[in-house]
């Protein structure tokens, strides 16, 4: 249905094939989180890889920073409708993380955990093959706490709530377990190109 009197702001024709449906571009980097920004100290920071309830490997901040670093520049898309082009991240790819742990994915499902008890589910296939990383730097700098630092998950091809801020672990699960927002009506997968914002989309 066309809205009476609405013509829309100037479109950027060259960028349109980059912009998923219902999104608009912003030059800022808006902040969205469900509570206060947690206070995470690098001395006590730990990253834990689990299979089911069982921890299989844990890294300190220093150990984590010695893992191979990968850089990516990607567009990101937030379910609250903004997209930001060409965001530059550096971090440890999930491939490198599993290689360091000597682990082959034991199940196809992963639940990411954060310091603020946030969780979100991402299929392993969407993390493997260079598609996902634990990012430590944004635009050449350590990631601000507001944007998820010291470390956040980065899965840029899914809506950005999947890129868990303040991430402190990945857990392989026996089935696809809904995370924080997925339990509250958001989509289990969250593909911006198919506009999978809410369950049922």
């Amino acid at each position: 249905m066309a809205t009476r009197g609405f013509s829309g702001r100037g479109r950027t024709p060259s960028g349109q094939d980059r912009l998923p449906p219902g999104q608009y571009t912003t030059a800022d980097f808006p902040v969205l989180s469900l509570g206060p920004t947690p206070r995470v100290s690098l001395d006590t920071w730990r990253f834990t890889l689990r299979v089911g309830p069982k921890p299989v490997k844990q890294w300190t901040w220093d150990e984590f920073n010695r893992l191979p670093m990968t850089g990516v520049t990607q567009d990101i898309h937030c379910v609250t409708k903004w997209s930001k082009y060409d965001t530059a991240w550096e971090g440890v790819s999930i491939d490198d993380l599993l290689a360091d742990a000597g682990l082959d994915a034991p199940t196809p499902w992963v639940l990411a955990h954060s310091f603020d008890d946030y969780t979100t589910n991402v299929p392993f296939a969407d993390l493997a093959g260079g598609r996902g990383m634990v990012a430590l730097r944004y635009a050449g700098q350590p990631i601000d706490a507001d944007h998820g630092g010291p470390a956040r998950l980065l899965v840029p091809h899914l809506y950005f709530w999947k890129s868990a801020k303040w991430v402190n672990g990945l857990q392989f699960t026996q089935q696809d377990v809904a995370g924080f927002w997925e339990l509250r009506g958001y989509h289990m997968y969250g593909d911006p190109w198919r506009e999978q914002r809410y369950s049922g989309d």
Binding site: G8, Y24, V31, G35, W181, Y198
Partner: protein, 244 residues
């Protein structure tokens, strides 16, 4: 329980438009299928141009869940804002606008969740909190509720008159601050929402079950940090950030 989101877009009719503050207008909608919602949830709005171009934004529901037949959104005009200035400049009573919802399942409260609850809103961040306050009043609840609001000047304080009236019940308490003028009346303080102010509010309500904080990103960040400094545990603080 939080109602599950309604995926379908509905064509809502604009039943009334009110000027609430110099920068904020209230839009009352009637929907073919009135949404069952919980206070704090939002609706998505979709505007479509003749060539198919779309703009979507989220707006919190200001009205009480007890009145699903008339959904009120309160929209602040942002200079050059694509959707907010369209609402302010173009939308008229009788227009049809596409909405879907209710959406959002974390920044929500109903009297069944218990209290006391502390609500802190900056500018248009008062909108979802007002739905909670109206719900609380509609249910004649005895749960203690304190609302702390701040805006530039007294006329920018959203729903101030209604909040003042509701204070009369003795259960709801209003603490309002203006940041850019001297306080005009005895019940308005001037200055920002700062540590001493929040300390005083927490002295009067020492153990809030949930603290809801809503507004621009800098506002929410500052207030949430102050609350942590004052010893409120992170798990009790829920935030909604409108942007900026």
């Amino acid at each position: 329980m939080v109602p599950t989101p309604k995926r379908q877009w509905q064509v809502a009719r604009v039943a009334a438009i009110e000027t609430l503050t110099p920068r904020i207008k209230g839009f009352h909608f009637t929907l073919p299928e009135p949404p069952a919602f919980t206070a704090g949830q939002h609706m998505d709005v979709r505007l479509v141009a003749p060539d198919g171009y779309e703009a979507q934004r989220s707006y919190s529901i200001a009205s009480a869940p007890e009145r699903p037949d008339r959904i009120e959104l309160a929209i602040e005009r942002l200079e050059d804002g694509e959707v907010s200035s369209f609402f302010h400049d173009v939308v008229q009573v009788g227009d049809e606008i596409e909405l879907r919802g209710p959406l959002g399942g974390h920044f929500v409260w109903s009297v069944e969740d218990g209290g006391p609850i502390l609500l802190i809103g900056g500018g248009s961040g008062v909108v979802p909190l007002m739905s909670m306050v109206r719900h609380h009043a509609a249910r004649a609840s005895s749960i203690p509720v304190t609302l702390v609001t701040s805006a530039r000047t007294a006329v920018d304080l959203l729903y101030l008159d209604e909040q003042r009236r509701l204070q009369a019940n003795g259960v709801f308490r209003l603490v309002a601050r203006v940041t850019r003028e001297a306080a005009a009346t005895p019940d308005l303080g001037s200055g920002r929402i700062d540590r001493p102010l929040l300390q005083g509010v927490l002295d009067a309500m020492p153990d809030p079950r949930i603290v809801f904080v809503c507004g621009s990103n800098p506002f929410v960040g500052t207030v949430a940090d102050l609350l942590l400094d004052l010893g409120v545990t992170a798990g009790r603080i829920r935030t909604e950030r409108f942007g900026g």
